[in-house]
Amino acid sequence: MDLSASPSPFDGWTPIRVHWRREPAVEWCWTDGLSFDDPFFAQTIERALRRPFSLLFRRETPLDTLDELEPGLEPSGFVFHVSRCRSTLVAQMLASVPQHLVLSEPIPVDHILGAVAPEADRVRWLRAMISALGRRRRGDERGYVLKLDAWHTRHLATIRRAFPSVPWVFLFREPVEVLVSQLRHRGAQMVPGAIDPAVFELDSDSIARMPQEEYCARVLAAICRAALEHRDEQALFLDYRELPGAVFERVLGAFGLECDAAERATMEAATRLDAKNPVLPFTAVRDAGDGEASYELRQAVERWVRPLYDELLAC
């Protein structure tokens, strides 16, 4: 895209993070020509940063003026999830259609949701940031989906205030399988203290003494509980076992995305790849479930998560 011919000085630029200084600032990276079809937002930015100009000439603007930009796409839908439940696959399937802008765990959204600030500011910043991230890049976009980090389910209240009419999906899975995967390779939310424990209604003192199985189970429970508490007419709850078919049968419709036969075939082809590492084929063995679960893990799941999972299944 030729910046000199474009109407906006931000065409070709993407916000990549927020700096919480005395005057918060948004950092932008030149990403023109790149499509956001990597498994994660950070990977696309890292691709951009391999270009000398993008690495050396990043720009900053005040966060408080972000909402003065011309608006980007309205979100078609949000994907929330418990982690390790094929949420990345769902995002990759949707992203396989070039006219769908799909952002998978965009860093600046995490920065906004993690801000300690009045709720009115968080809502305003969130709307502005998602709009800025959703600026048209191709010109023929007809869908904009954000797959969020697992712990962002704990911020559903803020997200629903910012986007009350945007449909959302909550993906969940048998909790023992989720936690076996997490204990094998932990996401940030499963590392005690990596995310403010108050997000999960826990406190620093108690998590320091808590067995790891209990900590992980209580984090997972908090995520499930948040989804159930905010369930509304815009919500679609899907169990892991319904994927990937439910993407075609339910998610596309819920998000108002119409795909022709060729696009559906492209999406179906994406299911045969490892969603987190698309150069590899998907293998069921790598996605194995609960064979490794310890007694302590099963006990923690039964105590903290099982009733919530049963409630999710009944939705």
């Binding site: 910046l3 000199s4 030149w30 023109d32 000398p52 050396l56």
Partner: protein
Amino acid sequence: MNPEHASTSTVESFEAFRRLVLAEPALQARLRSIREWPPFVDAVVDTAAQYGITLTEADVLAARDASRRSWLERWI
């Protein structure tokens, strides 16, 4: 000259050049078209000189390394 002051002066020079580039779409377009580091570094040094800003190859590479570190350390 104290190397520490020289380093600070170098950082300030690069920042001055960065601000200049970000204010000039034509300069941005010129630098964006160079995808390999050696000719890019040369272009930065030459372009800076045209605007009265003295930068060496080492200065540009130091700015590159600092920028990479800034991204990699974003979780800290």
